[in-house]
Amino acid sequence: MALDLLYFAWVREAIGCDGERVEPPAEARTVADLMDWLETRGGGYARAFADRARLRAAVDERFVLLDAGIAGAREVAIFPPVTGG
């Protein structure tokens, strides 16, 4: 099923775009699975997803842990820990 991905900050810079529509395989059930799948593309994806401790995510605009499920999700955002204020 089509899934919109959004990338922010250095994740966006490493991958080289601010988002894309993907068709993840059925076995990608969690955010971490999705990262594993994207990482196999190599290049900027491999660099962006190498250190999972530096990554956070949101599913349909809600912050989640990386082991959160993505079944039925429309949008997954991947980004570094936030630094506002």
Binding site: L6, A9, A77, F79, V82, G84, G85
Partner: protein, 152 residues
């Protein structure tokens, strides 16, 4: 009353203060965060996640209003490029007395730092560096966690 906004325009602190004070509840506490100019930063760029940012700021303001029974809670955050000395964020809590206003204001800026999807890029001349999150910010936000209510 709740007011949250994300804007690319410069923050007018005097106007925001006057507008917020007009609620006239007796006490207002404000926090203004600005671009630091003491470590060579020439430009700061703020990126955010539209939609999720609004949701996060609304949640922080709602929690403050409910916990301290505020007359109003205001969070206005700037995004885009800005210069040293320019304000980045304006937070205000209005209440009948000073202690809830001061506590609610501290709560809102502490929680905003860890809960709202903003990212800072510091430029020093040609060098650009994403600001790393600080563990001390997590600790500051965690001090506001309340123990769960006992089950009745």
């Amino acid at each position: 009353m709740k007011r949250v906004a994300v804007t690319i325009e410069p923050l007018e602190i005097a106007a925001l203060t006057t507008e917020t004070l007009a609620a006239g509840a007796g006490a207002m506490a404000t926090f203004v965060g600005s671009v630091r100019s003491d470590d060579g930063v020439t430009t700061l760029e703020l990126e955010h996640y539209p939609g999720a940012t609004d949701r996060a700021l609304e949640a922080v303001a709602d929690q403050a209003i409910a916990r301290w029974d505020l007359a109003s809670a205001t969070i206005v955050h700037r995004v885009g490029p800005m210069m040293p000395g320019e304000p980045v964020v304006f937070v205000a809590a209005v209440a009948p007395h000073r202690q809830p206003a001061l506590d609610a204001c501290a709560f809102m800026i502490d929680r905003l730092k860890t809960d709202a999807p903003f990212w800072k890029l510091e430029r020093r001349g040609a060098d650009a560096r994403w600001v790393e999150a600080r563990g001390s910010d997590e600790a500051a936000a965690a001090r506001w966690h309340q123990p769960p209510l006992p089950e009745s």
